[in-house]
């Protein structure tokens, strides 16, 4: 039977909630949400987004967290408890690999934010006639500097994870998330007092109802709801595995996590777009918005040093808490699989990610390719696998009565079960099919090679886990008892 090694628990409710929201609030909330909202009909997009958030992200996060709390295991341990010790544990390995690959290039983004937070600290953006586009070009073209920042990012993640769940992740999140909130509120207040700022809010919130009839609006809302909340990546499952047996999940792990995460997106709209419009910057998304346009705007503002520092420190905090969560998925799993100490698990997983991340740090095309594959198919596939495991293998009905409603601050009715069993997996298949359809003609090589990689990864992982079963573990029956 799978053993459950002695597990830490979250030290406080507030700490857990900050950690899990911190895990989900990342670069996407700050540089993507405002733009996607404005581009897809403003208020119309927000309505589609809210609907999908409550229909998919909230129930999905509840399921993933309660499964983790029930099994008290990381990814592979959970799959072993569900499927028994056979090749299907390889499905958990597939998700783990997606996480590691995701983190391998996300650490470069953390590195960028560290670099810009440092420049904000030394007052670079407020220098006279300073050109932020040149800084970004020089930084992007400097391979050694990018590898260095990626290394610093991984060193930070390693250091925090070495301190453990309570002493590292929780302590950090309890400070960083309130600071991020205050920083964004302060920037929003400053931004809203700028002349022309209201045009930014008009762009973001003005409802263009015809967009609700467009498929693209719903897909954009679906993408934002899924990728922003981190549903199905194993993060909620891993963090849930450190919850106490009678801790609430529906309100904290479900509603607060999804809505709290989106609240940061809304805060980013208030913080970013008034400044973007006040300075006549082209509203765009991605690295260019944060590192070129906003950096330039801060330099031109009165008290620009403070606003740049608040923004880039907040941006760095958001990225770091997400990076820690993604890495923790691998650390928890490795620790359990190898029955080893936390320090060794942290050093091993962070070392692997650091090595794998070097190509992405050296070449933005590699980063873009990995993001394309993982974002388009890897993460929807991971969500599909986890929801099938929850809904069908463990049984959604059993999970709801046994774990989800235990110690709950909010009763979850039977309606939750078909959402997890049918609705979310069907949507995941649909989104993968749409991405395939929409990308095949535009980027055939990337699409075909990415799909080929994924298609090979599943049987390979299943083969690896079937080979391991006779060496380390005895067979555990389906849905084995938690230790």
């Amino acid at each position: 039977m799978t053993t459950t090694i002695s597990r830490e628990q979250w030290g406080s409710r507030f700490g857990y909630l900050m950690a899990v929201v911190g895990a989900m609030v990342g670069a996407g909330n700050i540089w993507r949400m405002p733009y996607v909202t404005g581009e897809n009909g403003g208020g119309a997009f927000l309505i589609a987004y809210f609907l999908l958030l409550y229909l998919i992200a909230v129930p999905g996060l509840m399921g993933e967290t309660s499964l983790g709390r029930h099994t008290r295991q990381g990814l592979l341990g959970t799959f072993r408890k569900l499927y028994g010790n056979n090749r299907f544990v390889g499905l958990g390995l597939v998700i783990l690999i997606f996480n590691i690959v995701l983190m391998s290039y996300y650490s470069s983004i953390v590195g960028w934010s560290i670099y810009y937070a440092f420049h904000a600290l030394i007052g670079t953006f407020t220098q006279t006639e300073f050109d932020t586009a040149v800084l970004w070009q020089n930084f992007s073209g400097n391979t050694a500097l990018n590898v260095g920042m990626h290394s610093i990012a991984m060193l930070m993640v390693t250091g925090i994870l070495l301190l453990g769940i309570k002493g590292g992740i929780e302590r950090l999140a309890k400070w960083m998330m309130p600071i991020l909130t205050i920083a964004l509120i302060a920037i929003a207040i400053r931004g809203l007092t700028l002349p022309g700022a209201m045009a930014g809010l008009e762009f973001s919130f003005s409802p263009n109802w015809e967009y609700l009839a467009r498929g693209e609006t719903w897909l954009a809302a679906l993408g934002q709801a899924l990728f922003s909340t981190g549903l199905g990546w194993g993060i909620a499952l891993t963090y849930g595995s450190y919850l106490g047996r009678n801790d609430d999940i529906p309100l904290g792990g479900g509603i607060f996590t999804a809505i709290g995460n989106t609240s940061f997106g809304l805060l980013a709209i208030f913080a970013v777009f008034p400044i973007v419009f006040a300075f006549g910057i082209s509203p765009t998304s991605g690295a260019e918005l944060a590192f070129v346009a906003l950096a330039s705007a801060f330099g031109s503002m009165t008290g620009g040093y403070l606003w740049a520092l608040l923004f880039f420190m907040g941006f760095f905090f958001a990225n770091l808490t997400t990076a820690i969560a993604i890495t923790e998925v691998g650390v928890t799993t490795y620790r359990e699989e190898k029955s080893t100490g936390r320090s060794k698990a942290v050093l091993t997983i962070c070392g692997i990610i650091w090595l794998l991340g070097i190509p992405s740090a050296m070449n933005a095309d590699i980063l873009g390719y990995l993001d394309f594959v993982v974002g388009n198919w890897g993460l929807p596939l991971a969500t599909f696998i986890i929801m099938i495991a929850i809904g069908w293998k463990f049984d959604a009905s059993r999970l709801r009565v046994l774990s989800l409603n235990r110690g709950a601050d909010l009763y979850i009715p039977k309606l939750w079960e078909p959402i997890v069993r049918f609705q979310i997996p069907a949507i995941m298949l649909g989104i993968m099919a749409y991405f395939l359809y929409s990308n095949l003609s535009q980027t055939p090589w990337k699409t075909v090679s990415g799909l080929a990689l994924l298609t090979l990864l599943i049987p390979l992982c299943m083969w690896i886990m079937s080979r391991r079963r006779d060496t380390s573990y005895a067979t555990t029956p389906s849905g084995g008892q938690p230790s």
Binding site: R13, L17, F205, S206, P207, D248, L251, G252, R398, Q481
Partner: protein
């Protein structure tokens, strides 16, 4: 700003910041209640009346299946907590009134 944009903005603030703030404060208050119960009587009932009814219904439908054992354990835990603890975490007033 147009009126429609102001309405959407206000609705978004209520739907997001409002809900998040209420959820956070309610969750923290409930946790304080749980901790107070643990300090005063050792534990509390893990299931609400509706959650207990769901669990019993599930067990009645799947009495022979392997997972039934852990369901029985949880029901037993619930019954013990209900018997031994004078204070409740969930609201049982309507159930108690119905029994009387």
């Amino acid at each position: 700003m147009s009126l429609s944009a102001i309405i959407v903005m206000t609705a978004s603030i209520i739907a997001l910041w409002g809900v998040a703030t209420v959820a956070l404060s309610y969750s923290l208050r409930q946790e304080e209640r749980k901790l107070a119960l643990i300090q005063s009587q050792g534990d509390f009932e893990p299931l609400s009346p509706r959650a207990q009814r769901d669990l019993e219904t599930w067990l009645a439908r799947h009495p022979e299946e392997e997972p039934a054992r852990e369901v029985r354990e949880l029901i037993e835990l619930q019954q013990q907590a209900m018997q031994h603890n004078p204070q409740r975490f969930y609201d049982w007033s309507t159930i108690d009134e119905a029994r009387q």
